[in-house]
Subunit: 331 residues, 2 copies
């Protein structure tokens, strides 16, 4: 941690999507480390951007309400930045089914603009991209390593894969210093709690806290790798300063999968409220869900010296405390 | 051939980009086979669309001057079609470096619109997509089979790969009947002859016919698989009616590579004019060129019973005759 603090002190860091779940948690840590933080966020409705997410550091960061798809704005914003965490995104694979063109526009065009601007105006910046396990599609072996074939089953997965290829190609062809982090199932404080379209941990926690009945699709036996946001933040920060990481892709997860049903039970236990009901899978979900999921974190552990630590129950406890306090800003 | 004629007779066929090089050649063959052909083409400047390309069949096809990125138009146009050959594209990897956003818009958005329109309004149509060897990137083995890793080195290659994934995913997830053809180095009659940004065979032929000096980058020893358009047309037509092809990707090339220099010498020989000069590689090209290139056609031969026949010299002869006659429409 001391090494991170030292390396980030006085660094100029840009976080796109910095009012969202992952971006804002990164911002809090960077402010603690003494970095000069700039946030750009479009605050699109229904997505994760929330001004309360930077509560406590709002006077220590520069916030630009704007869209990375705005080429001129992005060109100006990336200049002089040492490290750019690129988290602006449409984050629901469910929505990608219904609004594939918006998903394309946000998840591809925006990143292409950031990269092309950096190629011309800031070729030395470190660029860290937030990708997803959804690039993989049907799993051929387990645990999944970074070189597993990528045959996505959703538009969301395709566009995340396109994003990965942008970062990889701008590294290989133009020498940009890019890193791709492929995140499993993230959860934690500052995530949106308004709908169920992404991060079911959060949605279920809200339902449990409201003493509602949580619907589970199928038997709930599928394995998922749930990773708490603080561990993800550390992965981003380490990726942002590691020379070894340049041009690489890393799996970022806890490295230990839980049954879906177990996750829900933990949520109920922590909340001390709520009920479970099992129902059949809805039609649209079934073909996209990829069955059980276990991912290897060996590469990130080796290259980044990154070791995820926060177990599911502990993570949900932290979330529950946070949302008890700040419910009115998220409900 | 008789089987193709029988199968295409009275079929409703749509060709996007149908005034371009490959599209118009497909249109000519389909009219011969008695299909009801509709062409949609945006006639974007600098690309391959050319009204003269349908000279002789202009009264036998329906032509819509319009863009597949126009959602409403595309929705109307795909209705009732049995087979859709989807060839609308930005086709220069050189341009993709300078105008990555246009490349994204044309080569991704347009195809996503066609597929999504078919998903909702014409789920039984056969959809054939024209992809490229440029999806591959650095070659790990040779000859290249369809399951070779895809790590493109250009934006053009990334977006063609994204296109492939769209077609594959709309098949796997929504059951659409899609086929991807991954074309090597196409050449032939009806290709544009105005600039050197794609299909160097055509550009060199023009220079030779004008008795100019042809510049070759490097030693010209890299291998390329040049495939004549008539063989490609047959591959498209076979892919459009084969049940086995649904959901598949096929390499489409001659299956026999020639040295680049040999191609240029053949062009000079056929034209009976022109000179060769060797110069070093320009900076931008070098990192994208993938060295020698040999591709296996075994899968297409086996599944589609497709056997490319036209040797390089024969193909260039046919081109030379065509452009001697119709120069004024292409120069």
């Amino acid at each position: 941690m001391d090494e991170l603090k030292e390396k980030y002190k006085n660094k100029n860091v840009l976080i796109t999507g910095g009012l969202g779940f992952l971006g804002s948690n990164i911002a809090h840590k960077l402010v603690e480390y003494g970095a000069n933080v700039t946030i750009i966020d479009a605050l699109l409705s229904f997505y994760g951007g929330n001004k309360f997410n930077i509560s406590g550091i709002e006077n220590k960061v520069q916030v630009i309400i704007g869209d990375i798809r705005d080429f001129r704005l992005t060109e100006k914003t990336i200049e002089g930045k040492d490290i750019i965490f690129n988290l602006a995104a449409q984050v629901s694979y469910i929505d990608s089914i219904n609004i594939p063109l918006d998903d394309l526009d946000i998840n591809c065009k925006g990143h292409l603009i950031v990269l092309d601007a950096c190629r011309h105006r800031n070729p030395d910046a470190r660029l860290i991209f937030s990708s997803s396990r959804m690039v993989l599609g049907e799993l051929l072996y387990s645990p999944v390593t970074e070189d597993h074939p990528t045959e996505p089953l959703s538009i969301y997965g395709i566009h995340k894969l396109t994003g990965e290829k942008y970062y990889q190609t701008y590294h290989k062809t133009y020498g940009l210093k890019t890193v791709v982090l492929r995140i499993t199932n993230p959860y934690g404080i500052r995530q949106q709690m308004k709908h169920s379209k992404y991060s079911l941990v959060g949605w279920f926690l809200r339902q449990a806290m409201e003493d509602k009945t949580i619907q589970i699709f199928g038997d709930g036996k599928q394995l998922r790798d749930y990773i708490y946001v603080d561990d993800i933040v550390t992965a981003f920060l380490k990726a942002g300063i590691s020379d070894k990481a340049i041009g690489q892709i890393y799996n970022i997860g806890l490295g230990k999968s839980s049954q879906f049903l177990e996750m829900v039970k933990t949520v109920l236990k922590v909340a001390g409220k709520g009920k479970i009901e099992c129902v059949p899978w809805p039609k649209n979900y079934e073909k996209i869900e990829t069955g059980s999921f276990e991912m290897s974190m060996e590469k990130a552990k080796k290259d980044l010296k990154w070791f995820p630590r926060i177990e599911l129950e502990e993570g949900i406890k932290r979330m529950c405390e946070y949302y008890k306090k700040f419910k009115q800003f998220y409900w």
